[in-house]
């Protein structure tokens, strides 16, 4: 009985309260930038059977393979019935930063709230403001193919208790402003960590092997170690890595498009020059 009580307490959804939402005038342009840095569209792209779907809108439903089964990321356009049109700021922030759905359920951590938890709330509100400017798409998405009985859903809460770090990202005062911007984009919205850092026995990120690569989350092949790529001088300098991010295979960087990285590269290519340089500077500093 005590064990059950401890499980119940440890696994309960830890929602943020209204006090977590600051007064903030949303910056839509910043929201759009972070939406691209996060590559939201790559997972929330339209389901393959949606007629005349605008592939540039995150209407969701495209099957996403994960180690535990197939997920259908939801519609995040501002449609009220099938999208996030009637979500409050607090509901949005709880989903993005704590992995808790509007209905109060734990979300499966294929959705990288484990990285987004490090972002300032104001940046998350900017993303919401940007999403609200998109045309609403009516598209209901299927429930996941993962049979998660209530008690196991609740188990995600236990997992979060052990594996969800909600420490906000902090700049390193010893580094340049550019390096810190890169660090933020990589570790917060960019969520590079989710694939490039291996996971431990309980599937939480093993931070002692930060960005050192590991098995591919879709189950085929490996995700390279960023330290390894830098050590082997795959990119000879910052300018080279910037060109790789901005152009991918168009400039012959064929390794930029394997295992899902091609979509990531397309998303990074949408960022302003200075941000791509910041990401490159930060990554090249990993030895």
């Amino acid at each position: 009985m005590l064990g059950l009580s401890i499980f119940w307490i440890a696994s309960s959804p830890r929602v943020l309260g209204a006090a977590a939402i600051p007064t903030h005038v949303a910056d839509v342009a910043n929201g759009k930038l972070l939406y691209n840095a996060g590559g939201c569209l790559s997972c929330h792209k339209p389901r393959p059977d949606l007629a005349n779907a605008d592939k540039a809108l995150p209407s969701g439903g495209f099957p996403l393979k994960t180690p535990i089964g197939i997920l259908y990321p939801p519609n995040i356009t501002p449609d009220s019935a099938t999208g996030i049109g009637d979500w409050s700021d607090l509901e949005f922030v709880n989903a993005i930063q704590r992995g808790i759905s509007k209905g109060g359920q734990h979300l499966i951590p294929a959705f990288p709230y484990t990285s987004y938890a490090a972002m300032p709330v104001t940046d998350v509100l900017d993303i919401k403001a940007y999403l609200m400017t998109l045309p609403p798409v009516v598209s209901a998405t299927s429930a996941s193919d993962i049979p998660l009985p209530f008690i196991l859903r609740r188990g995600i809460g236990l997992w979060k208790w052990a594996g969800l770090d909600t420490t906000p990202w902090r700049p390193d005062p010893a580094q340049s402003a550019n390096w810190n911007r890169g660090s933020y984009l990589v570790n917060g919205p960019g969520h590079c960590n989710e694939c490039h850092t291996p996971r431990n026995l309980i599937m939480a990120r093993n931070n002692s092997r930060f960005l050192m690569g590991g098995p591919h989350p879709e189950g085929s092949g490996k995700v390279p170690s960023l330290h390894g790529l830098i050590d082997r001088k795959r990119y000879k300098d910052k300018a080279d890595l910037v060109l790789a991010f901005q152009n991918g295979e168009v400039f012959g960087y064929d390794h930029m498009s394997a295992g899902g990285m091609g979509q990531v590269q397309s998303n990074i290519a949408k960022l302003p020059q200075q941000d791509v340089e910041a990401i490159a500077e930060y990554i090249l500093s990993l030895k």
Partner: protein, 156 residues
């Protein structure tokens, strides 16, 4: 005359049988090696074109033509040994980085292949730097089209 004609017929027949035997005996390993050689060759050809794209080398119609011809020749050589046939999905001793999705039901590899051939032809038809720089990104994207979906990452 008749003897010569007969000789030719026999020779042709032997060549055809020889080719058939070669085809029948190309193992999955041989096919994987053949397509890896094709990709290596493509990489070399693309390298010459990327140098023009980046402005490291001036536009040279002869270089562009040679590069595209080299890719087309590699494509034809692979087709000849069935390097992209479904029976080459898994090698006996040679490791392949091609994903089985290439040959799965509903795969759009054919559409993606056609996009590559069309893009190759468009680059071959360029006449100056401006038309080249407009056509080449489509070729690069067509490489990405398959690599993104059908190639698993190699290194740890």
């Amino acid at each position: 005359m008749q003897a010569q004609s007969f000789l030719r017929t026999v020779t042709a027949g032997v060549l055809v049988i020889g080719l058939g035997v070669t085809l029948a005996f190309a193992s999955a390993d041989d096919k994987i090696k053949a397509r890896q050689a094709e990709m290596k060759n493509n990489g070399k050809a693309i390298g010459a074109l990327v140098a023009i794209m980046k402005g490291e080398q001036p536009y040279d119609a002869a270089v562009v033509k040679a590069s595209i011809d080299s890719m087309a020749a590699g494509d034809a050589a692979s087709a000849k040994v069935g390097a992209w046939d479904a029976d080459s999905a898994k090698g006996e001793t040679v490791e392949t980085y091609a994903k089985p999705e290439i040959w799965a039901e509903g795969s759009d590899v054919g559409t993606k292949y056609k996009a590559w051939v069309d893009a190759r032809n468009a680059v071959a038809a360029t006449t100056d730097e401006a038309s080249f720089k407009a056509a080449f990104p489509v070729l690069g994207e067509s490489c990405k089209g398959c690599h993104e979906k059908f190639r698993r990452p190699k290194e740890n």
